[in-house]
């Protein structure tokens, strides 16, 4: 069948099961837009800024497990996608980004809105393409989805010149594509699996460190089965949150820079660390040479390059978390570790997270209430900063795959568009965006998109008038010299939200928190609560960068008496 490149692209997206695309038009991609009316099954969400499209595609992908799709025009449209792509790359999120490009004859001439987007995105995509013939579109799209969604997922960018979008060719959608250099490994060699099972059987103080890979491979049941059968407590990385039920007796918490002290201490005391789908980021490990000093390490990881990169594995099981756990489970004899479990419990009691002060409105309180009122079953999308860490600490996740955050890149502004994407992917769920006043102002224009498309995200805006996490570093490491972290004149966020068409309310008092949350959830469309929270509260515990559990700072004395 004869089609234009643009039509082929839309048809190919449909073949890949795509139903939503986030984007914004411009000259180079216009031919694609003008074919959209012929493809009513493709829902296009017109964003306000292309960064919003990229983050939304990322949020959509995390929420659904399927590639999110965004597109943009050449030049500035394409460069606006860059932060979002870098975020998806760092966090292994499947995204397919399509950019318009100047016509083939103009490439290389510094034409109007020409940018070398394939060159720019080489280090921040899993792979990218410049399509030079319309006839290649179907195959490239097929490959892009294959690459984005399989193995260790990641973003793939496809750059298409304007005249390729209008060129006609025969449409043939390939069932199979050949990528000779791409062979993701699913299962680990069985001798290695046996070795791992042996280590688990022999361990006295085993600990599971669950990462994003558990969620990506949907290995929830397998993880739980391993934990229960080997009576092994579970700690989770930031992106591993909601891979294991937090109300489970074997759940410990998140370790690391702002993790629970007891979770970091448990790693310190463990004699076996079973790391699943994680890459030993410095936010988890602190000083590498002092990390898990008493433990052998079993590393289950789909990307061979992550094995032995930061932490040396005693047994490396390269493969997909779900597959490898399924190989491992039959070899695990039920065992108990009563002393170790008692010890972990002891650590939990002795180093419990602090409780919010009742005399001030603190973020921790808001998050505790949100957790309670939503029964730990809402999708939580955060920005980056203090609110992100408190959300990780105080929201108790009781269902799989509820936490979405820019972990690796740490991109402020993620909280608004990614929440929009997550909500579109999971219309059945309540989505709460936990926003910082800093990050919110980076991408808040997408509120218009949400109102326009009736995407009912609820916002808990943690308004502390500070770039709080940076202020905290200035407080702790620069003698309270606050430079460029205070927003002395934030806008009236309630009026602003109302101007966008949201329902909004301001909360300054502890007593009004519950009511506001209930009201926001009763409201049909998007809603925002502007929480005027304690401005100079710091996140604890904290292990200063590059240091060890020994340097862990717990809540300062004057705050301890607020503990339950």
């Amino acid at each position: 069948m004869r089609m234009t490149g643009g039509q082929m692209l839309c048809e190919s997206l449909l073949r890949e099961g795509v139903s939503v695309v986030f984007g914004l038009p411009g000259g180079a991609i216009l031919p694609l837009y003008q074919t959209l009316p012929q493809f009513p099954q493709l829902r296009h969400i017109l964003v306000r800024h292309e960064q919003g499209a990229a983050f939304a595609a990322d949020g959509y992908a995390r929420a659904t497990g399927r590639p999110g799709v965004c597109w943009a025009t050449s030049g500035p449209g394409a460069t606006n996608l860059v932060t979002g792509l870098a975020c998806s790359m760092m966090d292994s999120v499947p995204v397919v980004a399509i950019t318009g490009q100047v016509a083939r004859s103009a490439i290389g001439t510094d034409a109007f809105q020409e940018t070398d987007i394939t060159g720019i995105t080489v280090p921040i995509t899993k792979h990218n393409y410049l399509v030079t013939r319309a006839a290649d579109v179907p195959q490239v799209i097929r490959e892009a989805f294959c690459l984005a969604g399989t193995g260790r997922p990641g973003p793939v960018l496809v750059d298409i010149p304007k005249d390729v979008l209008t060129e006609e060719a025969d449409f043939n959608y390939p069932e199979v594509v050949h990528l000779p250099g791409y062979r993701p490994i699913l299962e680990a060699p069985i001798e290695q699996v046996r070795k791992a099972a042996g280590l688990i059987a022999a361990a006295k103080r085993p600990l599971i460190l669950a990462g994003h890979g558990v969620i990506i491979s949907r290995a929830f049941q397998e993880l739980r089965e391993l934990a229960e059968r080997a009576q092994t407590p579970v700690v989770s990385t930031l992106l591993g949150l909601s891979s294991f039920p937090e109300d489970h007796i074997l759940y410990v918490g998140m370790p690391g820079m702002h993790g629970a002290a007891y979770a970091s201490m448990a790693i310190n005391e463990a004699d076996l660390l079973i790391a699943i789908g994680m890459r030993f980021d410095d936010r988890v490990t602190g000083k590498l040479s002092a990390f898990a000093p008493n433990a052998s390490v079993i590393h289950i990881e789909i990307d061979p390059a992550e094995v032995d990169k930061n932490i040396k594995a005693h047994v490396a099981l390269v493969g997909d978390a779900k597959h490898v756990l399924r190989q491992l489970l039959p070899l695990i004899q039920p065992k108990t570790n009563p002393e170790w479990l008692r010890r972990v419990e002891e650590l939990k009691q002795a180093h419990a997270l602090g409780s919010p002060r009742p005399d001030r409105l603190q973020q921790r309180y808001v998050l505790e209430r949100l957790s309670e009122i939503t029964d730990g079953r809402a999708i939580i999308v955060t920005g980056v900063g203090q609110h992100q860490m408190w959300a990780a600490q105080y929201y108790q996740f009781k269902e799989p795959n509820l936490f979405m955050s820019s972990g690796g890149l740490g991109a402020m502004g993620y909280e608004v568009p990614a929440a929009m994407g997550a909500q579109l992917g999971r219309p059945d769920k309540v989505v709460w965006s936990i926003a910082g006043d800093g990050g919110f102002q980076m991408t808040m224009y997408e509120l218009a998109t949400m109102v326009e498309n009736n995407i009912p995200v609820k916002f808990a805006l943690m308004d502390n008038s500070y770039l709080g996490m940076v202020r905290q570093w200035q407080d702790l490491f620069y003698k309270k010299t606050y430079v460029a972290t205070h927003y002395t004149r934030n806008p009236d966020f309630v009026k602003l939200a109302e101007a966008f068409g949201l329902w909004a309310v301001r909360v300054k008092e502890v007593d009004h928190v519950d009511d506001a949350i209930h009201q926001a959830m009763l409201h049909q469309g998007p809603a925002l609560i502007d929480f005027w929270v304690d401005q100079e509260e710091n996140v604890f515990p904290m292990i200063p960068p590059g240091q060890t559990v020994a340097e862990l700072m717990e809540e300062p004395e004057e705050r301890v008496h607020w503990k339950k």
Partner: protein, 190 residues
């Protein structure tokens, strides 16, 4: 320690950029790189000389392997290999020095491929050491220009660095290997 890595890569535009971009951003130390056609029409063969310890070289190998257009990577440092470089050296000559230079060229089994009134171009092939020593010996005569290829290396005997038989023909995974849902169904519970 210097390691020799050989890679087979797809002969496509941009491949070299992907590889050098990765090497630069991860701070790997590559002292030579050579690239050219291979025995297979769609593949180029590259060789790298990497400086660093065992761990670093393993990382280089794995990170290379991760690039989609890189089909095969092998560290052949521990193998019995032949390694060659080619150099062109333009050296200043005078009637007084010419015969001495020619003698050197003979000793090194090099060749003279261009003769000018005041200079010669010498072509020499060999391992790095050999080329280094010739260059050093020519230095006093006045080396006007020197250019060398990277190291080419091949395992001796019948063993080869080649792609696996099924590799070009094997289909890429069709659906998400990770069992992700193919429709909008919610994730399975725990």
């Amino acid at each position: 320690m210097k390691h020799t890595i050989v890679a087979l890569v797809l002969d496509k535009p941009g491949v070299l950029n992907r590889i050098t971009s990765m090497i630069r951003r991860r701070g790997f130390n590559i002292s030579s790189l050579a690239v050219g056609a291979s025995e297979a029409p769609s593949l180029s063969r590259m060789s790298f000389v990497v400086e660093g310890g065992e761990e670093t070289v393993k990382q280089v190998t794995k990170q290379l392997q991760k690039i989609i257009d890189v089909v095969k990577v092998a560290d052949i440092s521990k193998e019995n290999v032949v390694a060659r470089e080619l150099a062109l050296i333009k050296v200043t000559t005078t009637p007084a020095t010419r015969s001495e230079i020619v003698q050197l060229v003979d000793i090194f089994r090099a060749g003279i491929i261009d003769v000018g009134s005041e200079s010669l171009i010498i072509e020499v092939t060999g391992d790095e050491e050999k080329i280094n020593s010739l260059a050093r010996l020519l230095e006093p005569f006045g080396v006007k220009e020197l250019m060398r290829t990277g190291r080419l290396a091949m395992v001796r005997g019948s063993s080869t660095v080649k792609i696996d038989d099924d590799q070009l023909g094997a289909p890429a995974p069709r659906t998400a290997s990770n069992g992700a849902p193919s429709s909008d169904s919610p994730p399975p519970g725990w």
